[in-house]
Symmetry: C2
Subunit: 334 residues, 2 copies
């Protein structure tokens, strides 16, 4: 294979660096690599293929001859550059929320709806990290018996808010242990030894931006626009990997044994469910891993008719929840 001309947009961010690492790890056929970022990152370099690649400031002319753009830039920057990217003939796999709910843009989790990749018109959207992890965990159950309703509550790590938030968790924790008061800068509230409602803006219906993304994107990924789903998104003092407590109301009865069988053969899922040793998915164990870890698999008798199921799920939101998912999409492009 001759390899592709690839540009990584947002190359210096926490997801951008993960994209570079995973391109190497998975031996994605890269013929040439451009590292693009905003003017703030001018003069920086990133490491790829044993070389220091100088970071170029992204602009409309950055994409000549590029075949694939893997973007982890913000929504605003992505919207500004998208026309130039598609006009150059490149395919944009976009981590931002800019185009996710656009009816003409496939929103893809390869384990769930890889067939949508073929419908793209130059842009494929990578879903929200919580939605990706949720959909990998429940898609096979949805196919088998139908999901009527999802109640999801999250435990989201600092890295979901970027490098500055990760540093803040570390520095603030040191400060608190030294007897100093926590000073929030990158995040709106103290993150050291605390928990707070997700830092995205709250809409008029009371749901924050993260929750609205999870609700809308899960419906689109699962191909169930009428799916009943509610979400509560919360930050916890964890460096990396998100956890989700998932309560399902199913259309048909599903006992625990059958649920376990379905999950055992679900693409992208690894079961960790050792009741005897009280060992279940944990963000620390999921960090740096590719799988979505599923455990606490148990029937929920509060739903009549054997149609209730509880799960506890962890996934590395920088990998499967972002960079890995984008590269898995790219791997299926040609």
């Amino acid at each position: 294979m001759r390899g592709r001309s690839v540009a990584v947009l947002g190359a210096t961010g926490v997801v951008g660096r993960e994209i570079l690492a995973i391109l190497e790890q998975r031996k994605f056929p890269v013929r040439s690599l451009k590292a693009l970022a905003s003017a703030r990152s001018a003069g920086k370099t990133v490491r790829f293929g044993g070389e220091e690649i100088p970071v170029e400031v992204a602009g409309p002319s950055s994409f000549q001859g590029v075949e694939l753009v893997l973007s982890s830039a913000g929504s605003g920057a992505t919207r500004e550059l998208a026309a130039a990217i598609t006009a150059s003939g490149a395919v944009l796999v976009d981590n931002s929320s800019a185009f996710r709910m656009d009816a003409h843009v496939p929103l893809v989790v390869p384990e769930v709806n890889a067939e949508k990749i073929a419908d793209h018109r130059g842009i494929i959207a990578n879903p929200n990290c919580v939605a990706i992890i949720l959909c990998v965990a429940v898609a096979a159950i949805h196919r088998a018996v139908g999901i009527e309703r999802i109640v999801v509550t999250t435990y989201q790590s600092a890295s979901g808010a970027g490098i500055a938030a990760m540093r803040e968790l570390e520095h603030q924790t040191r400060a608190v242990l030294a007897g100093e008061a926590p000073v929030p800068v990158a995040l709106p509230h103290p993150i050291a030894f605390n928990v707070f409602s997700h830092n995205s803006a709250v809409g008029p219906d009371g749901y924050n931006g993260e929750e609205t993304k999870v609700i809308q994107e899960t419906r689109k990924i699962l191909g169930s626009p009428e799916l009943r789903i509610t979400a509560t998104c919360v930050r916890v003092p964890v460096m990396r990997a998100h956890s989700e407590s998932i309560n399902l109301t199913l259309r048909d009865a599903l006992d625990e044994t059958r649920a376990r069988e379905i999950l055992a053969t679900s693409a992208g899922v690894e079961i960790i469910d050792d009741r005897k040793h009280n060992t279940f998915p944990m963000p620390l164990a999921a960090s740096g891993k590719d799988a979505v870890f599923v455990g606490r698999i148990r029937s929920d008798p509060s739903v009549p008719g054997g149609r209730g199921l509880n799960l506890f799920v962890c996934g590395d939101q920088l990998r499967k929840g972002a960079a890995l998912n984008a590269i898995q999409i790219a791997e299926r492009l040609w």
Copy 2:
């Protein structure tokens, strides 16, 4: 008032110390105070009323002349001593799970079912901390429109597992920040920068002991033995105060405005629900406080007919979830 002869059983534990502090803060009429604990605490003293009180080793003969025993000893020790306590004529307000589900023992959250106190036969049980915080938050809504189903997911602090777990969170966090591997001792898994399923033993139905307590005790406190409820209990790296994400299915429709009105006049509840500034209940802010803090009050359209409601709740589980609730019961005894 001439005051009562009070014994605090388990006086050196994290809840026992809180009981002593709250007796003073609330000016509970104490005529004499005995500090009782197991043989491990022999020789220790505790501070009460400006004095150092020597800790006595608890035994069947410890309760002569005692009128009130506030116990935060374990279930086993409490079971062994309960007959001696009631035979001496004292009333036992018990924090352990030993007698909570006994049909003859009132299980009381004063804001919810204070009327049950009068039914006691010498023992009144103080509920599980998660159940107390949950019931304070939802009781008035249950009275107003009826709760059909509860899905509760917790963020439980280290202090719920005792002083050793609090120290472990601190020491382990220091170790991790120094680049060392976390070494779990008091808790089964690393607690620093991690989240894990509650450390109580998992039963054959897949629910751990904590979840089973929350389910059974909530039904008993709310006086609804058939209430549909499921729970997922999780530890987070927070020192003190528990958080709960609560999803309610109501019998009758309840809009957000009315829900807010009901909560605003609920005994023991303080609303923190500032959507504009993204400020909601947080365990750090709830620590050391008496109220149960309720926020993220929003309708859940995934339940048809306007019958869905989401809440996020925090409460200091050492105070309202344990010591304070016990003393509030004692205040209503005579």
